[in-house]
């Protein structure tokens, strides 16, 4: 929170400014007092577990949700009360939202056509976009004839066709399999280098966020926990939630510590927790020891170099002691991480379905 507050005091000329935004769905508080600055031309990730409010924040920026309180500025202009269609945002939906009855070309041309641009110009622009998203030759196909990755690239081209001030992507790779996801991820980063449009994307995958975002916003329970670069979040997390969500952690003696900051001792020592060795895994140069605490049997693991492993020479069943290394980054374990990750996703703001009708 503190970091986010600091940033709003620095005015950003262009880019996106979110000021004290809250959103309620009935009893559910989806966002509470969110403040965020997104620099012009940057790539920002909203990272958090389901129900953390990251998608709601993105939709509020797009105008797809109306904040209960607060204001959103795009390029210094207040967006309150401005309908979605006039915000000039490019929005990419998790499940593509492809217009099924239109070809790839028609899908991409939709925005420019709505803006009543000359036909020849539209045609030229759409063809350029088709090339840009590597769908050359597929302009005449229908979405049902495309693969998931191709559909998502089409959706991206469609969003870019309106030359948006900001590009918003809601879990853009969530519905794709791992391999395609990785390819698209690096492709998106390269695309951003080319197009330079202010981009925000939502993800629950910390690796994805760290891989392509310049700024990562970690969200939990409708609030921003911390904003920063991948390194900042990893090295100086403000609390146990951020620490646990960005990178691996062990909980030892009521504190969170990273596995590579976990020291394994063959003998009892001051402040160390007793464990039983469960498994020793050697992976080339490095390796890890998996342990269970005594007596409550919580899993703990330590990442060690090969030589450290050899020096310790532990076998499954052996007793050992673990504690954070002296210079380790640790945070008090308040249980925030566990409660956030195990919670069910909340109901969305979509209208409730009506009763089943008569099957006539």
């Amino acid at each position: 929170m503190a970091a986010a507050k600091n940033q709003t005091e620095v005015p950003v000329e262009n880019g996106i400014e979110v000021v004290d935004v809250s959103k309620q769905f009935g009893d559910f508080q989806a966002l509470s007092n969110v403040n965020l600055s997104v620099p012009d031309g940057s790539m920002t990730a909203l990272l958090g577990p389901s129900g953390s409010g990251k998608s709601t924040l993105l939709r509020a920026i797009a105008g797809l949700e109306v904040p209960s309180e607060g204001k959103i500025f795009i390029s210094g202009e207040d967006q309150t009360g401005k309908p979605v269609r006039n915000r000039n945002v490019g929005f990419v939906f998790q499940h593509y939202a492809a217009f099924k009855h239109m070809t790839v070309f028609e899908n991409i041309a939709f925005g420019p056509k709505v803006r009543k641009r000359p036909k020849a110009e539209v045609k030229k622009q759409v063809n350029e976009l088709i090339d840009l998203v590597q769908l050359t030759g597929l302009g005449g196909r229908y979405p049902s004839q495309l693969s998931g990755g191709q559909r998502q690239r089409m959706a991206l081209a469609r969003a870019l066709a309106v030359e948006p001030t900001v590009l918003l992507l809601d879990e853009p790779f969530g519905a794709l399999d791992a391999k395609v996801r990785k390819d698209l991820r690096s492709w998106l980063r390269r695309l951003h280098d080319e197009v330079h449009v202010t981009t925000i994307f939502v993800t629950h995958d910390q690796e994805e966020a760290m891989d392509i975002a310049q700024q990562i916003v970690v969200m939990n329970e409708g609030q921003i926990e911390q904003t920063g670069t991948a390194t900042e979040l990893y090295d100086t997390p403000v609390n146990d939630f951020v620490m646990g969500f960005v990178g691996e952690v062990n909980s030892i003696g009521g504190r969170l510590v990273r596995p590579h900051d976990t020291e394994v001792l063959p003998v009892k020592a001051e402040g160390a927790t007793e464990v039983e060795v469960d498994r020793v895994v050697r992976l080339g140069f490095s390796g890890r020891i998996e342990m269970l605490t005594v007596p409550d049997k919580r899993e703990v693991w330590a990442q060690l170099t090969r030589s450290e492993l050899e020096t310790l020479n532990l076998e499954p069943g052996d007793t050992a002691w673990v504690k954070p290394k002296p210079d380790a980054v640790t945070r008090e374990d308040t249980g925030a991480l566990e409660s956030a990750v195990t919670e069910d996703p909340p109901a969305t703001g979509k209208p409730t379905p009506v009763e089943p009708g008569l099957p006539v």
Binding site: N88, H95, A97, V114, R115
Partner: protein, 268 residues
């Protein structure tokens, strides 16, 4: 294995025999019966002025009821699925009412509202509008009984497609009217088509409600189904069968249209 096969065959032929006795034989036999005296009497009864008038009136009611209920049905489905207004449950229940009410009761209720001794009968009479025993009454009756079909077909389709495409169009700068015509309507077109076909079939064939409000003046307020009854009761069986055949052919065409649409829909 043989036991299983026997069960399967048994079930199959029980089902087929049931359908034959109930549907196929009666329908087929009617066709035979129609032409039992040759083709000439059939042609004669088609060209009978009262028969032509009945067909015309029937088509007129369809031409009014179908567009009206289509527009209403789509509007209603959008309201039920896309808005979060209060009182949706009531609207939902009201839409189904025509399915729960006997056609005779529909006719009776219209007499009570628009008949000479009814609520609005006299005031409308003073304006020179006769509803009951006249064409407006028939049209209202037909609109009533065929009201739910389009809404009921479109609601599940709207639910299934979700609002992502509409939202996407909005982010691309499309206004709500444009979004409706370019995105929503194309996406629900098959649902609308089924609804229209069902509305049409029901509007063509409505008997009970119309029989109460029509007055059955041959050549004037007699629809084709009413004409069938009158012909039969006055022992003009060829006339009754011929008109029935016309209606049955339309019904079969309806089924065929539904089937073709469904196949086309699955292709997409």
């Amino acid at each position: 294995m043989t036991g299983e096969r026997l069960t399967r065959w048994g079930l199959r032929y029980i089902a087929l025999a049931y359908l034959a006795l109930l549907l196929v034989i009666p329908l087929g036999y009617m066709m035979i019966e129609t032409f039992s005296e040759g083709i000439q009497p059939v042609l004669d009864s088609i060209t009978e002025p009262d028969s032509i008038a009945a067909l015309k009136l029937t088509l007129l009611t369809v031409a009014i009821a179908v567009p009206l209920n289509t527009v209403f049905g789509i509007a209603c489905a959008l309201l039920l699925v896309r808005s979060n207004m209060r009182g949706k449950g009531i609207i939902n229940a009201l839409i189904d009412m025509p399915f729960a009410i006997s056609p005779i009761v529909v006719g009776l209720s219209l007499v009570l509202v628009y008949g000479t001794s009814g609520w609005f009968g006299q005031p409308l009479m003073d304006l020179g509008i006769q509803v009951i025993f006249s064409t407006p009454g028939i049209v209202i009756a037909v609109v009533f009984v065929s009201l739910p079909f389009v809404a009921r077909e479109v609601v599940p389709v709207l639910q299934e497609i979700g609002d992502d495409q509409e939202k996407a169009a909005e982010t691309l700068g499309s206004g709500s009217w444009n979004t409706f015509w370019r995105i929503t309507l194309p996406a629900i077109r098959w649902g609308v088509s089924y609804g229209v076909v069902l509305t049409m079939a029901r509007a063509l064939g409505e008997f009970g409600a119309v029989s109460v409000v029509s007055g059955k003046i041959s050549g004037q307020t007699e629809t084709l189904p009413l004409y069938v009854q009158k012909q039969f009761e006055t022992f003009h069986s060829v006339g009754a069968y011929t008109s029935s055949l016309i209606l049955a052919v339309i019904a079969l065409a309806t089924l065929l249209a539904m089937n073709l649409m469904r196949r086309k829909e699955n292709d997409e």
